[in-house]
């Protein structure tokens, strides 16, 4: 299964970035093979608006089936939901730890955004 973990760096030992739309990096990891690749999110990190929407679009285009992050706002959540990507909020620690927690099967997918949008 391909999952995305928002990260503050490009390695598995970097910390999870609690922000989704404005995360520094997306780590795209394959939970079966253990392979991973870092995708820079600088364009959305610096966007004046719409960062969550565009980050969610990027996640969909990367073929992710789930996203592990700290928080997701309403617009990003709407896009992820439309793309049928499961959202797991509240991730913390390193990317490696987040993946391990996910693989343990104890996480429950979020049903709604867990933070408010910036415009409403």
């Amino acid at each position: 299964m391909k999952i995305i973990i928002t990260s503050q760096g490009s390695r598995l030992d970097d910390q999870v970035d609690p922000r989704f739309g404005r995360a520094k990096q997306f780590i795209l990891a394959d939970t079966e093979s253990g392979q991973f690749a870092a995708h820079d999110n600088a364009q959305n990190l610096n966007a004046p608006q719409g960062a969550g929407i565009q980050a969610a679009q990027a996640a969909a285009r990367l073929g992710a089936e789930a996203v592990l992050t700290g928080h997701v706002g309403p617009k990003a959540f709407a896009v992820l939901k439309a793309a049928q990507i499961a959202v797991y909020t509240g991730a913390s620690g390193t990317v490696r730890e987040a993946i391990a927690t996910f693989k343990s099967g104890t996480l429950v997918a979020a049903q709604t955004a867990d933070v408010e949008g910036h415009w409403n």
Binding site: P48, G50, A51, I53, Q57, R61, A78, V79, A82
Partner: protein, 282 residues
Amino acid sequence: MKLAIASGKGGTGKTTVATSLAWVAAQTGRTVAYLDCDVDEPNGHIFLRPEIESERPIEKLVPEVDPARCTHCGRCAQACRYGAIASLPQQTLVFAELCHACGGCVLACPVGALREVPRPIGQLRIGRSGQIRFLEGVLQVGEAMSPPAIRAVKSAAEAADLTILDAPPGTSCPVVETVRGCDRVLLVTEPTPFGLYDLSLAVEMIRVLKIPFAVVINRADAGDGRVREYCDRNRIFILAEIPDDRAVAEAYSNGQIIPQAVPTVGKHIADILEQLAGEDGP
């Protein structure tokens, strides 16, 4: 003449100066239009107390996707500078509240799957305050994009001897939208460090737009001399210095037209109009 009243900092007296100019100019028999372009929080009506004659919705054009035609190529999302479109492998989502109504996505779509549909974002109110033609835009609560509403106010105004555009504070898109196409800009400031800093940002903005401008220092004797020094150093013309006066504050608190309530201020305002008329006739 189209004259915009702007300032970097909020609360410097834009609306006080704008409504005062409108009132004094109308007294002299000129046709005057007052446009409240501070559509997030228009408050010129508090002073001008217009009789509203007509009201109509302000709309902006936003894209709508025809799912039958969309090939999910993603060009619309790429074209959108505002991140308002998400192009997914199976679906295209539009976040209309983030749309600036530029129409770029419609042009970018290679298969004609997008069309523009109107979305109400506020109200345009047109009326009269004595001899002054009054227009204001009121952005709907929850709408984030004011430039389309400001455009609607500007395009609804008929020509007048003097058109006064009361700008929102700041130096970003809503202000640029307001001052664009104006003949002159007055930057109202106050002699404080905050006033000076925000004035310097506003000056940078107006210089990029290449519109002739001058400064009005409001509550001129309340702070220090740094605004004056800044203007001298940068060869910026100070058109008027309106003194700090308790009577003005009292009239303001009662929603009165300042030059009507405090004649000494009326003289400063008349002087501004004369200087503007002197340079090329309003």
